[in-house]
Structures are given as C-alpha cells and as structure tokens.
C-alpha cells in the first residue's frame, strides 16, 4: 500500500500499522479483563468512557472469588463445571464417532459407500437453527430434557467433522492400509492402532472447531435447560441481562471466567487453527 524504495521502512510502516490495528481490535477484550479486576460496579461503568477503562489502580480478584462461591449472588462455579462436562462429553464422543465414520467412509469395504458418503455430506445444508423446535420435541420425548446428554448427543455427530476425518484418512497411502489389514487385522484395530495415531492434525482440527462450538453454544441450551442442573455458563451469563440491577463486576468476572478455558484451548492448538478454518469454510 505504501510506496517505498527502501524495504526496511516499508516493513516498519507495516509493523506499526499491525500493532495499532491489533490494539484497536482487542481493546474491547482488554477493557473486559481490566474491568473484571474492579470490585465497584458503579466505578466500572463510570470508567468506561475514559482512559481508566484500561487501567485499574487496585486490582482485586474478589469478583472471581465471589462468583465462584455458591453462596454469592451468582454461583458460577456450577455453570463452569457444567460447561466443562458438556465440552469433554461432546469432544470425547464426537471425535470417536466422527473418526470411526470417516474411517469407514474412506476405507470400509461395504457396498454403497460412495452413496452413503454423498448422503452424509449433503446433510450439512440443514442449518442447526432450523431444526431446533422439532429437536426439542424429540429430545424431550426421549427423556433427555434438561440434562447433559441432551446437550452432548445432538452435537456428537456432524457431517463436516466426519468429512474432515474422511478426507484425512483418504490421503493416507493405501499401502499402509494393505500392510495393516494383510494379516487379518480387524477394521476396529486398524482404526485404533494405525489410523488414529497418524491423524493428529485432523483430530486437532476437529477438536478446535468442535470445542469452540460446544463452549459457545447458546440457543440450544437456552431452549433445553430449565434448571441450573445442566445449564452451561453461556446461559447463566446471559441471564444477568434479565435482572433489573446488573452487577457489572460479577458479569465481567463471569465473562472472563468463560473466556479463560477456551483461550487456553486456543493457545494450545493455535498452529492448526488457520488451516482448519479454511477447510471448514469451503464447506460452509
């Protein structure tokens, strides 16, 4: 964008631009983290319009201690644990079921495999948002309402994740498959001991996409959870908006609490992130 004969100065301009743009883009997140360390809810809102939104003179973790104790006005420890249970359950079942399905579609020996693959992939055009109400009927009739399974099972199999595994498994050289199955290895064992150990990138990709999706779910848990028994933290935070008086200090701390696990997750898997988003983007 900048005309320059000198490569070094162009780089400096780009670097400065990148720093400024990054700061502006993450400013709202910085404001959130700073505000969560202030204990006076009136002060939080009063500070927002000035530079003090980015500064805290006496940082305190009292908000976090308060929302994590069950006795406080917002007992967030329970919701956090609920969200973690749902995350682990969805990821565990999801990765096993989707990779097994991907394996069969890529290397299975049954008839009609191509047709089945096409059928599974074509399901991706059904938007989640358009099946919510009948899904509610089905899940309630199955007796899964207001529980963890109701928030795990519906998302444990997904055409896109099956496709990611399918694609990865298809690219593994067929010679390896032949060598593995030559001495009568069962498909399950081939999947377990040959394919899965080789598929770290695919597993990481699915784990990232599924993890973020599960952690940030909102519409479905709102519809399905009636009590705090299995309610995730997203719904609990949104419920703050329904109160007449909003305790912003607790809302900020709860929001930061919700961000921290996914932030750790993101930093651990970041190097797979870009490619995984491209591969899922192309399929909508």
């Amino acid at each position: 964008m900048f005309k320059s004969q000198n490569g070094v100065s162009l780089r400096t301009v780009q670097l400065v631009t990148a720093i400024c743009v990054s700061l502006i883009l993450i400013a709202p997140l910085v404001m959130l983290f700073v505000a969560s360390l202030k204990t006076d809810r009136f002060e939080i809102m009063a500070d927002m319009g000035s530079w003090r939104a980015f500064w805290v003179s006496t940082p305190s973790f009292d908000n976090f201690a308060e929302i994590m104790s069950f006795s406080g006005p917002y007992g967030f420890a329970r919701y956090l644990v609920n969200s973690l249970i749902i995350l682990v359950g969805t990821l565990g079942l999801g990765i096993i079921f989707c990779s097994m399905a991907g394996y069969v579609l890529a290397r299975g020996s049954m008839r009609g495999r191509a047709a089945l693959l096409a059928a599974v992939i074509s399901l991706y055009i059904i938007p989640q948002e358009s099946i919510m109400m009948p899904l509610l009927l089905i899940v309630t009739r199955m007796g899964l309402g207001d529980g963890f399974l109701a928030q795990i099972l519906p998302w444990a199999a997904n055409p896109i994740y099956i496709f990611i595994f399918y694609q990865f498994f298809s690219q593994i050289p067929i010679e390896i498959h032949e060598a593995a199955t030559l001495d009568g290895t069962k498909p399950f064992q081939a999947w377990r001991y040959v394919y899965m150990p080789m598929s770290v990138p695919a597993t990481a990709t699915v784990a990232i996409l599924m993890g973020i999706e599960s952690w940030n779910q909102y519409l479905w848990p709102v519809l399905i959870t009636q009590t705090s028994y299995a309610r995730p933290i997203s719904v609990a935070i949104a419920a703050i908006f329904g109160n007449d008086e909003i305790y912003w200090n607790y809302a900020m701390a709860a929001s930061v609490t919700m961000m921290i696990p996914i932030l750790i997750f993101y930093m651990l898997f970041q190097r797979w992130f870009v490619s995984s988003f491209i591969s899922s983007a192309v399929k909508g």
Binding site: P28, M31, I44, G49, P127, S130, L136, A238, M252, A281
Partner: protein
C-alpha cells in the same frame, strides 16, 4: 463402526428435519395437551406469510446482511492483506487478530453493552470527539434508527476473523509473478490492487459473500440478549421470530413453518454458492 454416527445423525438431524415439515402442518403445542394434535394443512404457513412481524423480521435480516457484508468483509480483506505482507511476527498478529472470533457471543454482548452505554460509554465518547462535541450522545441499542447498525458493528467485530482467514487463503493463491509483471510495467500499488489482487480474489469474494450471507440469515444470539427484537421490532430476526413463536407462545407448528422457510432461504443461498463456485472451479 459407522453405526453410532449414523444413528446420531438420523435421530438428531434427519428426524427433526423431516419432523419439521410434518409439525409445520399441525397445531402441535410446546406443552403436551390432552387434546390430540390436529392436522391443519398449510394454515401455519398462511399465518406466517400474512404476519407483518414475520416480514419485518425478514426485512431486518436482509438489512443486517446488506450492512454487515461491507463492514465485516471489508475489514477482513484489509486485515488479510496486512497479514499477507512480509510482516515481522506475522503469526503472532494472526493469533491476536483472531481473538474476537473465539469469544463467545454472550461475552461479546457483555462487553458491548458497556461500550454502547448511554450517555457516557466509549461509543458515545468517540462520537463526541469525532464530531467536535456537536452530536448528542445516542442510546445505541434503544433507538430504532441505530439499533440494527449497532448490532452490525458488534457482530462484524466478533466474526471478521473467519472471513479474514478465507481471504488470506485467497491472497496466497495469487501468483507472485503477476505482481512482479505489474511492477515492471510501473503500476502503482493502488493499480496493482485493482488490476491484480481484486480479479485474483474473484472466487474468494463469491465464497466470502455467500458464507457471510448465510451467517447473517441465522442472526439470533446478539438480538436475543441485547434487544429482544426491539426497539419497535427493528432488530427482530427470522430465528428470533421462530424461537418466540415456538418457545414464548408455545406454538410449535408456527415455529416449524418458520423453520422450513428459513431452511428454504438458506438452501437457496447455498445452491447459488455451489453454482458460483463450480463456475470458478474451486
């Protein structure tokens, strides 16, 4: 081994999908009643298609889409070009710029309520500074004329990362030779952008445009949390309308009819996407 996945897909995706067509033709209530469920034909569709609130919701979604596309995709393209340059610490910046994308929409709402705070939040401070104190503070989420644009800004901020990554992939597919040739011909950076970058990104533009449109049509969480469709219905959306009909008013039949209409709309956009992409050989 494929059975668990197929069973789950059939139970939680195919069955509800097929059921939605049936439910849409009944007077199915949310809470079971002793009276048997009746077949009502196309009455639910009729009711929805003659409901001004539904058309208002459709119009709002179209309005949202038309506003969010230039904001979100423009930002995404600009950032992708910045990150595609030979920038030091490029991966670090990529990581940082992607942070809003992993932030839950619920948390995004908590943050932006304070930004839009009336009268002294950061958004109003910015208006004050940029207008040299001439413009009065605005109650962003409560003023009918600005509530939707306010949601557009917040949504674009949360979601630009996805489009940014697609553009990044698109930029990397343009051959370096074309830029070198243009440079040799003495083309300015602006001309290189218009005559090399933009044509090279044509298939990417189509993909980004349609992905963004589909996302926009599913607009819900921000609306449900921040405005509940208000003020005066100016931020009501199709998904919000469906949830209200089914959940708040207990009319699952009407909600299912709305869902079928949403599905047809999204399918339509998806088909355009596939056709367009096939033409570009992606």
């Amino acid at each position: 081994m494929i059975a668990p996945a197929i069973l789950l897909l059939l139970t939680f995706l195919v069955a509800p999908f097929l059921l939605s067509f049936w439910t849409a033709m009944t007077n199915q209530p949310l809470i079971p009643r002793p009276v048997p469920v009746q077949f009502v034909g196309f009455r639910n569709y009729e009711r929805i298609l003659t409901d001004d609130d539904f058309w208002q919701a459709v119009w709002n979604v179209v309005r949202f889409t038309l506003m969010v596309i230039p904001v979100q995709c423009g930002l995404a393209l600009a950032l992708a070009m910045l990150l595609n340059a030979a920038l030091p610490f490029r991966n670090f910046f990529r990581g940082v710029m992607f942070l809003p994308q992993i932030t839950s929409m619920v948390v995004v709402c908590v943050i932006w309520v304070t930004i839009y705070q009336y009268p002294s939040g950061p958004a109003n401070q910015l208006v004050h500074i940029l207008s040299f104190g001439l413009l009065d503070p605005v109650d962003w989420l409560a003023e009918p004329s600005v509530a939707m644009p306010a949601l557009v800004v917040l949504s674009a901020w949360q979601a630009y990362g996805f489009q940014m990554i697609i553009y990044l992939a698109g930029l990397q597919s343009i051959s370096e030779d074309l830029y070198d040739a243009a440079k040799l011909d003495g083309a300015s950076p602006l001309r290189r952008f218009w005559h090399v970058t933009m044509p090279g990104l044509r298939p990417t533009h189509v993909l980004v445009l349609l992905v963004t449109t589909i996302q926009a049509f599913k607009l819900y969480t921000q609306v449900a949390i921040l405005t509940q469709g208000g003020p005066r219905g100016t931020t009501d959306t199709i998904v919000h309308y469906i949830v209200e009909a089914g959940f708040a008013r207990g009319r699952l039949g009407a909600a299912a009819a709305g869902s079928v209409i949403l599905f047809v709309l999204v399918l339509f956009i998806t088909l355009i996407q596939r056709r367009a992409l096939r033409r570009y050989d992606v």
